[in-house]
């Protein structure tokens, strides 16, 4: 009877809605800022990123998710300087463990809050994180 009273209480006191109406609430759905959804590389308005191509993220990754392809740029002084050509990210292998983010010495990569990763073609899950034509920010070593 005590249990029935509790059930009756909730039957008559249904003032709080605790369920989420996903996917109808996509516009208002706000995930915590630390939510680990996908690795991305932020670029500024000049199409510049902070990645030096040190491969720390590649070494930290337990699943071989990240592959850094490097090239050599020629600086104005005429010296060769290592830079990234492509940062290939295999989303299908990623377990969102955050080890690459904390391994990065120049904070070039961050976790994004996107979580809807379904695609029709598996190849779409392999992403190149640096934008075409992007270059490294001044002052990042």
């Amino acid at each position: 009877m005590v249990g029935m009273r509790r059930t009756g209480y909730y039957f008559t006191h249904h003032k709080e809605i605790i369920t989420q109406e996903y996917p109808d609430n996509r516009d208002t759905l706000k995930l915590p800022e630390r939510f680990k959804g996908e690795v991305v590389m932020p670029h500024d308005e000049n199409n510049e990123h902070r990645c030096t191509g040190c491969t720390a993220c590649e070494l930290a990754c337990p699943n071989g998710t990240i592959k850094v392809v490097t090239k050599f740029d020629i600086t104005p002084e005429g010296k060769k300087k290592k830079a990234i050509d492509k940062l290939v990210y295999h989303l299908e292998l990623c377990t969102m463990c955050n080890l690459c983010i904390i391994a990065c010495p120049s904070d070039a990569i961050v976790m994004a809050q996107t979580f809807e990763h379904s695609v029709f073609d598996r190849a779409e899950l392999t992403k190149i994180l640096n934008n075409p034509g992007s270059k490294i920010m001044d002052g990042v070593e």
Partner: protein, 344 residues
């Protein structure tokens, strides 16, 4: 898991668990991962105690490397572990009631568990496989809202835990389904290697948090919950009482999180010295042991996990023999088996 049951009418003659359907060779995988990398895999063993599994591995690496963990990290780890324990027991309570035939408790349990998941999501960035513990401390400092939200949760949880008793514990149908079902004597619990609530329900004192305190457990007051009846109801009562004890532990720590570093300074590449290292912790299901054999390289030579579910499952055949088929769900429910933990 596949249970092959030999029956005589409705009476169980033998229960034979067939394992391996979710075997992912986690121990072998760990041998090719570095000491920082292998921790994330252990979240996939007992996914309801993911934090505590990670904590066990981090403690073992710290023992090998002789890393001093800052006090702040120790307290954070303890709070997180206890929140995980509450979340795990809540899920067990809901699923247990559903196994027996009551549907509503599942939603009551998940309503409160959702609050813990939100707290985890805010601080660790994930709801289930957090990978928050690292050798030397925790990965990232607490979210500024953490303390407020945990306090809100505790206030709410204290109000709601009475509902659990009203709905299920005091229910005469439920009690009759559990009382004198799945009896396990103290001697059998020890000889089958049971641990956690499954063994404490038979009167075995085996709480690692109390017997061999790790992290901040030696700074808090709490009771080791022991029942002597040895039946399913005793194991049920232990978990309900343990939730109260976990709340008590969190209450003592949440206002006293020391300032300071959340992570000790460690080398970029961890190399354990040559030798063997073993640590154990109390997960929501029992004793989890991590055994590392190191050859002095950056990856372990061999890792063995002593998972609580495997030993607890071994007692199921002994418990079930001679009882009715319908009671088997009550026995399995109170053993709180998590299959990925058993298979690894």
């Amino acid at each position: 898991m596949h249970l092959v049951i030999t029956l005589n009418g409705e009476t169980i003659k033998k229960v034979e668990p067939h394992l391996g359907f979710i075997h992912r060779s986690i121990e072998k995988m760990c041998e090719s991962l570095t000491y920082r990398q292998f921790i994330y895999v252990t979240s996939r063993m007992d996914y309801l105690s993911a934090h505590i599994n990670n904590q066990a591995c981090a403690l073992c690496v710290e023992k090998g490397m002789q890393i001093e963990v800052p006090e702040r990290a120790q307290v954070i780890r303890t709070i997180m572990a206890e929140l995980t324990r509450i979340a795990s027991h809540e899920l067990w309570w809901g699923a247990m009631a559903m196994d027996i035939g009551a549907f509503t408790p599942f939603f009551h349990a998940f309503r409160e568990r959702e609050k813990i998941n939100d707290i985890m999501e805010e601080t660790c960035g994930a709801r289930l496989t957090m990978n928050y513990m690292v050798p030397g401390g925790v990965m990232i400092d607490l979210h500024p809202d953490f303390q407020r939200k945990v306090k809100e949760f505790i206030t709410l949880f204290k109000l709601k835990i009475h509902e659990y008793d009203e709905l299920v514990t005091g229910n005469i149908i439920f009690r009759n389904r559990m009382k004198d079902v799945g009896f396990l004597s103290k001697e059998d619990a020890i000889s089958y290697g049971c641990s956690g609530p499954a063994a404490r329900g038979s009167g075995v004192s085996c709480d690692i948090r109390k017997l061999y305190p790790y992290d901040a457990y030696n700074k808090v007051q709490f009771e080791e919950v022991i029942e002597t009846a040895g039946d399913s109801l005793a194991r049920y009562m232990i978990r309900i009482k343990e939730m109260n004890q976990s709340v008590h532990i969190i209450e003592q720590l949440i206002d006293n999180i020391p300032e300071g570093d959340f992570q000790a300074k460690t080398k970029a590449v961890l190399k354990l010295p040559k030798g063997e290292f073993y640590t154990r912790v109390e997960t929501a299901r029992g004793e989890l042991g991590v055994y590392i054999v190191s050859e002095g390289a950056t990856t372990p030579y061999r890792i063995k996990f002593r998972s609580p579910g495997f030993s607890n499952l071994s007692a199921l055949d002994h418990m079930a023999r001679g009882s009715k088929l319908g009671d088997l769900v009550a026995m399995m429910g109170t053993l709180d088996l998590v299959i990925p933990d058993i298979d690894r």
